[in-house]
């Protein structure tokens, strides 16, 4: 069994990470999951949360606001709408995420109201994990 797999994290604007990883923890829309080498091929959407990468040369953490992940036996690719390394995450960026979510909720339709409300909650959960607070 292969010890590592290829991990790619790309956002629309740039590629944030491309490295060999032993495990990747993903905030899947239906719950967290951990992808390891030889995982069954899976495509999952992501909720706002933290992607944790375990790699031989050190672990890395990225805050993402959504997107999707493609997991295959050989590697994991995360296509995030917006992604920021946790070390660079600031209150201002978080406020930006929150206000984006709030703006989206304003023109919500009956159908996606639940989804958008969940999104706001997910961002708040992510914030507390990062030790930041969401202003009311």
């Amino acid at each position: 069994m292969a010890d590592t797999m290829q991990f790619d994290l790309v956002s629309p604007e740039r590629s944030l990470a491309s490295l060999q990883a032993t495990a990747v923890q993903l905030p899947g829309a239906d719950g967290d999951m951990t992808a390891m080498p030889n995982h069954a091929p899976t495509i999952t959407t992501l909720r706002p949360g933290i992607v944790r990468v375990e790699a031989p040369e050190g672990n890395a953490e990225f805050a993402v606001t959504g997107g999707f992940a493609e997991v295959t036996a050989a590697g994991t690719s995360v296509l995030a709408e917006r992604a920021v390394p946790v070390s660079e995450m600031t209150q201002e960026l978080l406020d930006g995420f929150v206000s984006d979510a709030a703006a989206a909720s304003e023109n919500a339709t009956a159908e996606n109201l639940d989804e958008l409300a969940k999104r706001t909650v997910d961002i708040a959960a992510m914030a507390s994990e990062l030790g930041l607070t969401v202003k009311a």
Partner: protein, 292 residues
């Protein structure tokens, strides 16, 4: 024949013009490099995205449950042309070539009895489209305050498109932009974004893998399709930005060279005129002396 003073002024003015075009060329070259980098770093995302989405779409096409964004609204009567141009001029045929293509498409659609609506992104396109199709324009996205296009800008355009689509304002949306081929070639391109169309996935690349889908195939498709529109708009914006700088660089290079040629010509003319004046004066002096 213009007098010496005029010629001198003229040469001075052309020299100033050359300085300006030269500076613009250098600025464009610097910006081009940045825009090109942005376009290149945006590519992996767009490619992956389209590959996954294409696979999903191929799997679900034909089903009754296919989302509206993929299957279309069931008609193709109302077309929306999204004309994406630059905010500034002085970039050769960059804006005109996009507008020309959009105009041809509009004329073609109108000839087939379709309804055409136009949304412009970028000031130059609006100005040019207004002349002919002013009454068909339904909106404009202003990017003049934006220095580097970001995904946010693309998302804003995409939101606008999706909103209009959901309201039933149009059935088919096509974006017009310049694809960046190289510094000297930009290819005007039309791409249909709604209903979504994908390049056929490569043989054997992803077809062999059967994926598990979480939450469900349809659920994913429904979430991803709107982002797909944003992704396509974004890559069009990036390509456009790089093309604009490339076109400007080429145009300004030409202008600089033309100014140089003009200066040479004018200088020759100036020297001849000056010589003629000197000769004239000499003749006058000599004939004056001979007359005594």
């Amino acid at each position: 024949m213009p007098n010496l003073k005029d010629l001198k002024n003229r040469i001075e003015s052309v020299k100033n013009t050359r300085k300006i075009t030269k500076a613009m060329q250098m600025v464009a070259a610097a910006k081009l490099r940045r825009a090109q980098e942005a376009a290149e770093s945006g590519r992996p995302y767009a490619e992956r995205f389209n590959a996954v989405l294409g696979g999903l779409a191929a799997a679900s096409t034909g089903g009754d449950s296919a989302p509206k964004l993929l299957a279309g609204s069931g008609s193709d009567q109302v077309h929306l042309l999204v004309v994406m141009t630059a905010e500034r001029g002085l970039c050769g045929g960059f804006n005109s070539s996009i507008v020309k293509m959009a105009r041809a498409k509009a004329a073609d659609l109108l000839a087939h009895g379709k309804t055409v609506k136009i949304l412009t992104v970028g000031k130059k396109g609006r100005e040019q489209m207004k002349r002919e199709y002013g009454d068909r324009m339904i909106g404009h996205v202003d990017l003049s305050g934006v220095r580097n296009v970001g995904y946010d800008n693309a998302q804003a355009v995409a939101h606008d498109l999706l909103h209009r689509f959901n309201e039933g304002e149009f059935d088919v949306a096509t974006i017009f932009y310049n694809r960046f081929e190289s510094v000297i070639t930009q290819v005007p391109t039309a791409k249909q974004v709604i209903p979504a169309s994908f390049d056929a996935p490569e043989e054997g690349a992803s077809a062999s893998t059967v994926y598990d889908y979480e939450p469900s195939e349809e659920g994913i498709l429904e979430t991803l399709l709107p982002s797909g529109v944003a992704t396509q708009v974004f890559s069009a914006l990036l390509e456009n930005a790089a093309s604009e700088q490339g076109a400007r660089m080429a145009a300004m290079d030409n202008a600089t060279r033309n100014a140089g040629e003009m200066i040479e010509k004018l200088t020759i003319q100036f020297n001849r005129s000056r010589q003629a004046v000197i000769t004239n004066e000499l003749i006058e002096i000599i004939s004056g002396a001979e007359a005594l």
